[in-house]
Amino acid sequence: MTAPLLELRNIETYYGPIMAIRGVSLTVDDGEIVAVLGANGAGKTTLLKTATGALNSNKGKVLLDGEEIQCRDPDWVARKGIAHVPEGREVFPFLTVAENLAMGAYTRNDTDAVENDTATVYGYFPALLEFKDKMAAYLSGGQQQMLAIGRGFMARPRLLMLDEPSLGLSPALMQEIFGIITRLNEEQGLTILLVEQNANVALRVSDRGYVMEVGGMVMDGPSDHLLESEDIKEFYLGKKEEGVRGRRRWKKRKTWR
């Protein structure tokens, strides 16, 4: 059996004295889309930041292709092939769209290929081509999200990590973006680790999913299984049985089975 592309083992990360992640393990295989679900404050973003080296873990290992990469500088990790699309886009507002994309390819020196990839990005996101020379700050939220994903892709990473791409997007735009994420995975063979609050859309596009609660993993499995789980339905998809009175307020106990 080959080693997974990314593996987290018993990661513990602190913010000062506060333990934000208490022992989390996860694997992402080559070519997969893996979703991590969880409510606000569950530790999803912390998990991504720990994987990319933006935060140092106090315990545990991060393995990329079997090689330990934990507690290294983020730029070193980025060169190793992990691209991180942060929560809230974080495009460079005063650079143009084209410059933003070029920033994504900063670590590369294969000029021809970069040009090719830029064309690919414009192919996936025609809107970006249209505003190619506009400052990124003038783009809409959805376009900025596209740009952030495009910028991540420009590094030609082995693993693209997306932190809440659905944040602040209209349902239609969200469908579009997740459609493109799926295509990137299928057509470009890009492995994707996706952190989302929107469980419904995340589980539909992903192969496998993990559920995080208060800093720990409580459940994992193939996404179609998770979609059928009673707890996921009630607590993440908002599909609860109405109960005998037609309006049930009390919550069932989570069992994560």
Binding site: R9, G23, L26, K59, G60, D220, R248, R253
Partner: protein, 609 residues
């Protein structure tokens, strides 16, 4: 049935005693419960007023003497108010476990011909509503907590406050009625139904008389040393006879103050806040204390660990001397005082046991090693024994340490061993039979003696020791008799094992199903870099299986070859109180588990034979 009259303070029924005691105690605090996170107190007068209003309310709605009223709720002040209120009105109380699912609730409500139901909140109410059609006998339902039901309308369902209103109005015109009903009552009156979880078939309703209750009140303070100034923490279900005795009846008779834990999950936290002076717990909770301390110690600095180990050595030596009845020298006392000051006092403070004067364990067998560990910290745990049908009838006595026995029979009770080894007992307050089940009653009560279904021995001092449940005794294919509970208790003493069920009846060798202690095993996995995601994956890790294997081998070494567990499997589903695999006190049900996990068990006997 016994003809002796049992009394406490000259009262032979709970209502008579309640009227007397609440008048005496007045504004003293009877109970505390948290409201929005702040402890609120309720006096004995409050207790009396609320119980009176409930009683009047039920009488206004036509309750007749002997009618059954059910309470389906977690522990809370209203539980006890309703409990006493029903009895004051001449009714019979049936407590229903809040963890029961609808169909289990349905059986007890129909079997008992229940007329009125108290439900804790909308969650419990929904269970009733789901089976409303099958329950025409329920006339009214009163809900303690109306939150989330503001717009809900139903001609049978109302908030508890409504019953208070009905009661207040009825009480104005019928002063003296409750006192009169109490006066007419006698010890023979049926007071409560307690449904015992039938491991096979439907639960059976044990009928408890007023005499049963009053007899249980007489066991303190001589045997179970609960005193008027004691503080208790109430956290086990009040439907269970043990918590009803310790938190319901004994405080009523003797005046201790009870504090309701917020929820089963917060018990350890609430313990620290309350720091009870009298502590009753089931072995599972005592085991939890132990495993918390051992886990904390494994993480402590080397100084902390060294001090703990040293203090434990001192404590255990003292415990040995106490058990052997040897006197303690001045030096012993001095060294122990030092160990207590530096180590034990702090541990006890963290556990919330620093004010504990008396402690008691019951409802399941406890490991002698655990009792000794607590004795080392100067926490003397009495072991009491009984069952729903008998009440609590034996207890160890302070100053006498006979680990492994549950002490001699109490005053008013007798215990003997039958020819087949079964414990047979009688008491002045034993139950009156199973509701609607004359045959079962006749099987259990023979010539006035109750056949307990437990196997045990009596020593020359009359101390009873429990071997096991008669039907749980394993006879292996080789013809060897094995009592599984001895080894199970040793296994449970491990911080990594929450519960274990040994299997092997008519089999070649013994095997075991293990429920791991989630908290401690997760902690172990984390400190030993064993990756896992959820509970199932944790149970599947080879390192964890190996950890449990080590624990089992360690316990095995104390047993002869035929008594050793040869194979085991972990139950990889995280069980909760709602699951039928567990009793309300979170013990694995042997028969249920061995049926449900039949395939898993068979896999341990498959292959080479």
């Amino acid at each position: 049935m016994s003809d002796t009259t049992v009394t406490v303070d000259g009262c032979d029924t709970l209502p008579k005693l309640f009227l007397k005691k609440t008048a005496e105690r007045g504004d003293r605090i009877a109970m505390r419960e948290k409201d929005f996170g702040i402890w609120q107190s309720y006096s004995w007068s409050d207790y009396r007023d609320r119980a009176f209003e409930i009683a009047w309310g039920l009488l206004a709605l036509g309750l007749q003497r002997g009618d059954v009223v059910s309470i389906q709720s977690e522990d809370c002040r209203e539980w006890l108010w309703a409990d006493v209120g029903i009895l004051l009105a001449g009714g019979v109380v049936n407590g229903i476990y809040p963890t029961y699912q609808s169909r289990q609730v349905e059986h007890t409500l129909i079997d008992s011909s229940c007329r009125f139901l108290f439900a804790e909140d909308e969650e419990q109410l929904d269970k009733y509503l789901e089976m409303e059609q099958q329950l025409p006998n329920i006339e009214r339902v009163f809900v303690f907590d109306w939150t989330g039901l503001r717009d809900f309308e139903h001609d049978k369902v109302e908030p508890l406050d409504k019953l208070f209103e009905i009661g207040q109005e009825f009480g104005r015109d019928n002063a003296g009625m409750i006192e009169k009903i109490a006066e007419e009552g006698s010890g023979d009156d049926l007071a409560a139904l307690v449904y015992t979880s039938g491991t096979t078939g439907m639960p059976k309703g044990a009928m408890l008389s007023q005499r049963y209750i009053v007899f249980q009140m007489t066991i303190a303070p001589d045997y179970l040393r609960q005193q008027p100034d004691d503080e208790l923490l109430t956290y086990l279900p009040l439907c269970h006879i043990a918590e009803r005795v310790f938190s319901g009846w004994l405080p009523l008779a003797h005046g201790a103050t009870i504090n309701f834990a917020e929820s089963p999950e917060t018990v350890l936290k609430n313990l620290q806040e309350v720091s009870p002076t009298y502590m009753f717990a089931v072995p599972r909770v005592w085991e939890k204390f132990y495993s918390r301390v051992t886990t904390a110690m494994s993480e402590a600095t080397w100084v902390g660990r060294w001090a703990y180990e040293l203090a434990m050595r001192v404590g255990l030596r003292r415990a040995d001397k106490l058990v052997a009845g040897q006197p303690l020298s001045t030096i012993d006392r001095f060294i122990y005082a030092l160990a207590d000051l530096v180590v034990f006092r702090n541990i006890k403070k963290v556990l919330g046991l620093d004010r504990t004067r008396n402690a008691c364990s019951g409802a399941a067998p406890i490991s002698p090693a655990l009792l000794k560990w607590f004795l080392a910290m100067d926490i003397v745990i009495d072991e009491a024994w009984g069952q729903t049908e008998l009440g609590i009838i034996t207890s160890t006595r302070k100053g006498k340490f006979r680990f492994g026995t549950v002490g001699p029979a109490m005053r008013g009770a007798e215990v003997r061993i039958d020819d087949n080894g079964e414990i047979v007992a009688r008491s002045d307050g034993q139950f009156s039979g199973y509701l609607n089940l004359p045959e079962k009653t006749a099987e259990t009560i023979v010539d006035g003696w109750i056949h307990t279904g437990d196997v045990g021995e009596l020593d020359e001092e009359g101390n009873l020791s429990i071997t096991d449940r008669l039907k749980d005794i394993i006879i292996t294919a080789g013809g060897k008799n094995i009592t599984p509970s001895v080894m199970e208790n040793e296994l449970k003493f491990s911080p990594y094992i929450s519960d274990a069920v040994i299997i092997g009846d008519k089999r070649k060798y013994l095997t075991c199903l293990v429920m791991i202690d989630q908290e401690n095993v997760e902690h172990y996995a984390q400190t030993h870099a064993v990756p896992f995601t959820d509970y199932r994956s944790l149970c599947a890790r080879a390192e964890i299986v190996e950890l449990i294997d080590t624990e089992i081998s360690r316990v095995n070494s104390g047993f002869s070859s035929v008594e050793q567990v040869k194979k085991f499997r972990l139950i990889d589903v995280l069980l909760t109180a709602e699951d039928e695999e567990l009793t309300p006190t979170m013990k694995l049900k042997r028969s249920f588990v061995s049926e449900k996990y039949g395939d898993l068990i068979d896999s341990m006997y498959a292959g080479k034979s």
